[in-house]
């Protein structure tokens, strides 16, 4: 399920990470077991996630450390809700970006976050669709 690319600079690190893209059950515990709430949040994130990524992309393009940090923080908060650990860690790296950071490295982290995020979104789409299916398949 993890989207990985053999052309990555650090394929070994990424490939070695066997954690799931997110932990739906853990996230559900935080919504007090409510599948419904979590699905609603997933739907919202399907809209919001790409926008947040776009904002990050613009900030990286502008090489504005402050904007990168702010947008990274916000994205981190969102993916955290779904217990998407790897995405969270990458967002945190962007949040920690400052004027000293290497723009090339920042870009690389952003790329990895982009791939990770699309995996998260895929997963969530599956969940939301699953709900629709489940409802459709109901007795």
């Amino acid at each position: 399920m993890v989207a990985s690319s053999p052309s990555d600079d650090k394929p070994s690190e990424e490939n070695a990470d066997a954690r799931p893209v997110l932990d739906w059950e853990l996230a559900k515990r935080r919504t007090a077991g409510s599948e419904e709430i979590l699905q609603e949040l997933a739907e919202l994130f399907l809209e919001e996630g790409p926008k947040l990524l776009e904002k990050l992309d613009e900030a990286v393009e502008k090489e504005s450390a402050e904007e990168i940090s702010m947008a990274g923080h916000k994205l981190k908060g969102s993916v955290e809700v779904f217990a998407a650990e790897r995405a969270k860690e990458l967002a945190l790296r962007l949040e920690n970006v400052d004027s000293e950071s290497d723009p090339a490295e920042t870009r690389e982290v952003l790329d990895r976050l982009g791939r990770e995020l699309s995996a998260v979104l895929d997963y969530l789409r599956g969940r939301v669709g699953g709900k629709e299916q489940a409802e459709g398949a109901g007795p």
Binding site: R30, L41, K74, G77
Partner: protein
């Protein structure tokens, strides 16, 4: 932006977070709480604008947000909008900010990622806290109103009491006008009297009347009860008493006079428990004889010059108790030098103090060289030494078969009555001294809740500073339960802190209180030996709160006592429940 779930009676919550996902999670979680209306905004500026326009009960806010962050928002609200209670959402990365928010007065902080159950608990607690605060304010206002009303009532009562005192003074003047003002001059006889009512007015009465050339009537009477009712009863007695037959003008014998007045009183008095006792004598000047009858009254004492004594005891019941009674009478041939004393029971039967025993009375009568008015005054002093405001009336009439001047003393003890009323017992004084790294506290008088906080502050400060503390109770006569609870807490606290607290000079009564309340730790700190207090003891000022009782402290002290035994728990349960209700605690 706005979700209205409930009408305006509900509590209003504001959610502030720039992260839509997280904000939705919070709103969803809060939506499950009953009776709340939820509004959401995406940063501090929007929140500030909303708070400026609407009353909000609880704000749940993120820390890091664009434009205006959570801390800036709380700082603004601290000055401008004091109403809301704040709950902070914070990840580990903003933990320091969350701590600062708590310092700024935030109610709680919740870690991110948020768990909605925890959020719900926190918000419910915040709402309950708000309600308790409001309830506390309401109760305080109510209490202040009540205190105000009570103060007003007290003033009215004091004014009324002042009126009553004035009235009693006038009544006293009228009553003393009923007494014989000057003694008849009788050759070969001295007749003295001494009259001292216990309150302003009393139920004692006496008279000495020269009925004709041959007979003198003397009596001493005592109406049951005290104060105004007794005084009125004695007036009734005087009004109904006949010393001579109205038809023939013949002087009535003592027995007959008492019999008639008893019937009159019985008819006049309809209230039970009202009666008059009297010793009634007819002195026959020509025959030098005395005839005497006594209606439930202390005996008439006769002391002869040779030391022989005679007591003329009751010859019938008290007056007014039954319609028809008869009285025996005793007759006495008088000899030169005989002394007779008629008196009321105030002389031998004071409710407090050292009452004069009858044997001592006779001894004083026998042993006295000059049986004049000074003897009666001395008897009065002996009989009333040590009595307080509750002294009973005292009346004496003496007849001495010897020539001399007679004196009636109705002065009603003017000097004595100028004594101020017994002042309220002084409250405890707390004296404090430090010497050689040790502290000493002396409690003097009665220790009550009004000073327990001053004691608490001083004593706990010593223990917290690691100073060994001696509490001297040798001048302390009483401790109330709040003080006792505070003392117990002190000893416990010192034990934990490893600081030595010693109690000394504990009086029996106070030790009894410790024992009754199972204050074993306190008892274990009592030293048998008393060390002298340091030279310079300074009185501790009661804390500013001193005037108003600190209910929280009273509650705390009672809870401590209640924890010591099941018996204590039952004993203080009512107080604790009441205080908890007053203070709005569950």
């Amino acid at each position: 932006m706005k979700r209205s779930r409930h009408p305006r009676t509900s509590s209003r919550l504001l959610v502030v977070d720039d992260d839509r996902i997280h904000r939705r999670l919070v709103v969803k979680g809060l939506g499950e709480i009953d009776g709340v209306e939820i509004h959401e905004v995406e940063d501090g500026i929007a929140a500030r604008d909303y708070l400026a326009q609407h009353p909000v009960d609880v704000v749940v806010t993120d820390v890091m947000m664009p434009r205006m962050d959570g801390l800036a928002l709380i700082r603004w609200a601290r000055e401008e909008r004091k109403r809301p209670i704040w709950i902070i959402l914070s990840g580990l990365d903003t933990f320091d900010a969350a701590v600062e928010a708590i310092h700024l007065g935030a109610f709680d902080f919740l870690p991110k990622p948020l768990h909605i159950k925890r959020l719900q608990v926190s918000v419910k607690n915040a709402l309950r806290h708000r309600r308790l605060l409001a309830e506390k304010r309401r109760l305080r206002r109510e209490l202040e109103n009540k205190v105000h009303q009570l103060e007003g009532m007290c003033r009215i009562l004091e004014e009324q009491a002042e009126h009553i005192r004035d009235d009693l003074k006038r009544a006293e003047a009228i009553q003393s006008a009923l007494l014989p003002q000057s003694p008849p001059q009788l050759p070969g006889f001295m007749i003295h009297s001494l009259y001292r009512p216990g309150h302003c007015i009393g139920g004692d009465l006496y008279d000495v009347v020269r009925a004709n050339d041959r007979y003198v009537i003397l009596y001493v009477a005592d109406a049951s009860g005290h104060g105004v009712s007794a005084a009125m009863l004695s007036v009734l007695f005087k009004q109904r008493l006949q010393i001579a037959d109205p038809g023939t003008g013949r002087v009535l014998s003592p027995g007959l006079a008492l019999e008639k007045v008893s019937g009159e009183l019985f008819n006049a008095i309809t209230t039970p428990g009202m009666f008059v006792t009297a010793a009634y004598c007819v002195l026959d000047l020509r025959e030098k004889k005395l005839r005497c009858a006594s209606a439930g009254h202390p005996p008439v004492q006769v002391v002869r010059e040779n030391g022989e004594t005679v007591s003329i005891r009751c010859t019938g019941p008290a007056l007014g108790l039954s319609r028809s009674v008869s009285f025996a009478q005793e007759e006495l041939e008088l000899q030169s030098g005989d002394q007779l004393l008629l008196y009321t029971d105030g002389l031998t039967d004071q409710p407090s103090g050292t009452a004069l025993k009858v044997s001592k009375l006779i001894e004083l009568l026998t042993g006295n060289g000059s049986p004049g008015i000074d003897l009666l005054r001395r008897l009065f002093r002996e009989a009333t030494a040590g009595t307080g405001v509750e002294r009973d009336d005292v009346t004496m009439v003496s007849v001495v078969v010897r020539s001399g001047a007679s004196v009636f003393d109705n002065q009603a003890g003017k000097d004595e009555k100028k004594k101020p009323r017994v002042p309220a017992p002084p409250p405890v004084s707390i004296l404090f001294a430090e010497a050689n790294g040790k502290a000493h506290i002396s409690l003097q008088g009665r220790g009550t809740y009004t000073q327990s906080d001053a004691f608490f502050e001083a004593a706990f400060a010593c223990v917290d500073a690691g100073q060994a503390l001696t509490v001297d109770l040798s001048e302390c006569e009483y401790l109330d339960s709040t003080f006792l609870g505070t003392l117990h807490a002190l000893v416990d606290h010192a034990e934990v802190a490893g600081v030595r607290v010693t109690l000394q000079g504990v009086r029996e009564y106070v030790r009894g209180l410790f024992e009754e309340l199972k204050m074993d730790t306190v008892i274990s700190r009592i030293a048998e030996e008393r060390t002298a207090p340091p030279a310079r003891l300074q009185p501790l000022q009661p804390s500013e709160k001193g005037k108003k009782p600190d209910y929280r402290m009273i509650l705390w002290a009672h809870e401590i006592l209640a924890s010591l035994s099941e018996q204590n728990r039952e004993k203080f349960d009512f107080v604790i429940q009441t205080l908890r209700r007053e203070l709005g605690e569950a």
